[in-house]
């Protein structure tokens, strides 16, 4: 060994901007000692597209479609939060039936998103058969989305004062058939994830986020609930039709009787939420009142009303990954004066630090993926060892993770 190597005890490992979990850019710099992670620094902004600034030249209806394009998986929750903010700022009435239809769309998005996440999580630890199983189920959810919205990804379903497509009586059998399919397969998925010894070994005790840290770092969504904090906008506040529905907080306690805040708990959390979403859609289908689906069908009229409006409003919606909040200020002009968007991952970045400290390099993919980040991902990892750079690409990092699983299986 060179004298340098003996004096230096830790190394810095930059990971990203293109990274291990999902296919989006974020940059990590890990300080490592041997295999252990000692400290983490996160850098963001590689895909900052200045949408808030772009809104200055658009009217609220146009912004709906801009909001939809913030994220491909959350293509419902951003327009939903924006609509809630606009409706609060301009005091616009919402058609009652639409409130229920909005819940159905929101919950369908949650099912799609959580099942996608389950597949990615399985892939990260080397269970690609589970990945294909989950994506088969997800495909059904996507088909149902297409049936209800006419689109699979950017749904174009939200509008100010209501929703753009109704669910008529003849559509119900198809919805019920698909819900039954999800329920049947839910048992299968739960068995795979919750009873498999290897998944338990990889996920139990890994990436722990304590209740105190979750609270102090303002974590949101399944990430915070898996640490035992009862925080779910759908139960906390009354928006859309959630105030009318029978809904309770879900934490991993419901299944295991205890909360550890580890990756395993976050798996349980999301699986239980899929079940909850199915039940919520059923409730909505039962309770939905008849009537109009939008309070003012003429968009020109809505825009004229918004042009006169003065005020500020906040819209908050529980997206699959947690609370998404939009702030809007209207000053009687075509475009809103200010539009601020906050997606859930924004708040779930700081919790990564306590989660990853003390873990191994091979755990980075599954721990990072366990918060279901909506912008992360590693193509390439550079390891600076002894002043010489060697590169680890995404496949090699993934292989490290898979090899760890294999080691545990033997």
């Amino acid at each position: 060994m060179s004298p340098e190597a003996t004096t230096k005890t830790t190394y810095h490992v930059p990971i990203g901007p293109i990274h291990p979990a999902l296919k989006e850019p974020v940059f990590f710099e890990f300080e490592i000692s041997g295999e252990r992670i000692i400290d983490i620094d996160v850098k963001l902004g590689h895909v900052h597209r200045a949408v808030e600034w772009a809104s200055r030249k658009r009217n609220p209806i146009q912004i709906l479609y801009l909001a939809e394009r913030i994220c491909g998986i959350c293509s419902y929750c951003h327009p939903a939060a924006f609509t809630l903010a606009i409706e609060a700022a301009a005091d616009i009435e919402v058609a009652e039936r639409a409130e229920y239809l909005r819940v159905i769309q929101g919950e369908l998005e949650r099912i799609t998103s959580h099942i996608l996440w389950a597949g990615v999580a399985a892939h990260e630890i080397g269970f690609d058969t589970v990945l294909f199983l989950t994506w088969e189920i997800r495909e059904r959810a996507m088909d149902l989305t297409e049936y209800l919205c006419g689109n699979r990804v950017t749904k174009g379903i939200m509008t100010i004062g209501g929703i753009r497509r109704d669910i008529t009586k003849d559509m119900l059998p198809r919805i019920q058939k698909d819900l039954k399919y999800f329920k049947d397969n839910f048992g299968k998925l739960a068995h795979i994830f919750l009873d498999d010894k290897t998944i338990k070994m990889r996920s139990q005790g890994a990436g722990i986020l304590t209740k105190e840290n979750a609270l102090k770092l303002c974590a949101v969504g399944p990430t915070t609930r898996a640490s035992g904090i009862k925080k779910d906008l759908r139960a906390d506040t009354s928006y859309f039709a959630y105030g009318d529905l029978d809904i309770d907080y879900i934490t991993p306690e419901a299944l295991t009787g205890e909360v550890n805040g580890d990756v395993y708990d976050r798996i349980i959390q999301r699986l239980l939420e899929v079940k909850q979403s199915i039940e919520l859609i059923e409730q909505c289908v039962d309770k939905m009142p008849a009537g109009d689906i939008v309070s003012e069908p003429k968009i020109a009229k809505v825009l004229a009303q918004l042009k006169k409006a003065n005020g500020e409003g906040v819209g908050r919606h529980e997206a699959p990954r947690g609370e998404v909040i939009h702030y809007v200020k209207l000053t009687g002009e075509d475009a809103p004066f200010t539009w601020k968007v906050r997606a859930p991952t924004y708040n779930n970045i700081l919790p990564w630090i306590p989660m990853l400290k003390g873990e191994q390099i091979a755990d980075i993919p599954i721990v990072a993926a366990s918060t279901d980040p909506c912008m992360s991902c590693t193509n390439r990892v550079a390891i600076v060892n002894n002043g010489q750079r060697s590169l680890l690409n995404k496949e090699q990092l993934h292989r490290l993770s898979v090899e760890k699983t294999r080691r545990l299986m033997h």
Binding site: S238, A241, G243, D244, V314, E323, Y327
Partner: protein
Amino acid sequence: MTKDQKTPEEHVKYLKDKFNTNIISADIKKRAAGSKKNETPSIWMKIDKGAFKEIVKYIIEYNYPHLAIISGNDLGNNIELIYHFTVNYGTRLGEINLHISVELPKSKPEIETICDLIPGALITEREKQEFLGVKIKNIPDNRRLFLPDDFPKDVYPWRRDEKGLEKLYKNLHEVKK
């Protein structure tokens, strides 16, 4: 998390009694939704910068809040920061939104950090520094967050004055010779 829960009216009354002139205005807005018309209360409060940290401390004492985000407006002479807190989450339909607005003069746009009280505020405070050009005093991490390191200094994208983006994007066709 479920101490003696105060109604929004009680919060406003208590804060007005305690901080009197530091509370410039306080409105309670309630918005009903669904068939049962259950309401979600929001408190919109404009406060003086001087009492800001004391008020945050009061909220923490009452019930550790969730800081959703800090949003901001360029109002011309002042920069407004709005801290969006929520308290009482964890009880069915019991959550209260608290939107606390502080105006900072452009001549000296400075405010104390709240990272010592709520560590999760770091990301949003860093974002406000680079996008609105406010100075967060004693912030634990003073680096940029979203903007690249080679982004020009003293340009703040959400400003509407001469420090805004206008001159950057209007002359994109002009190539440096």
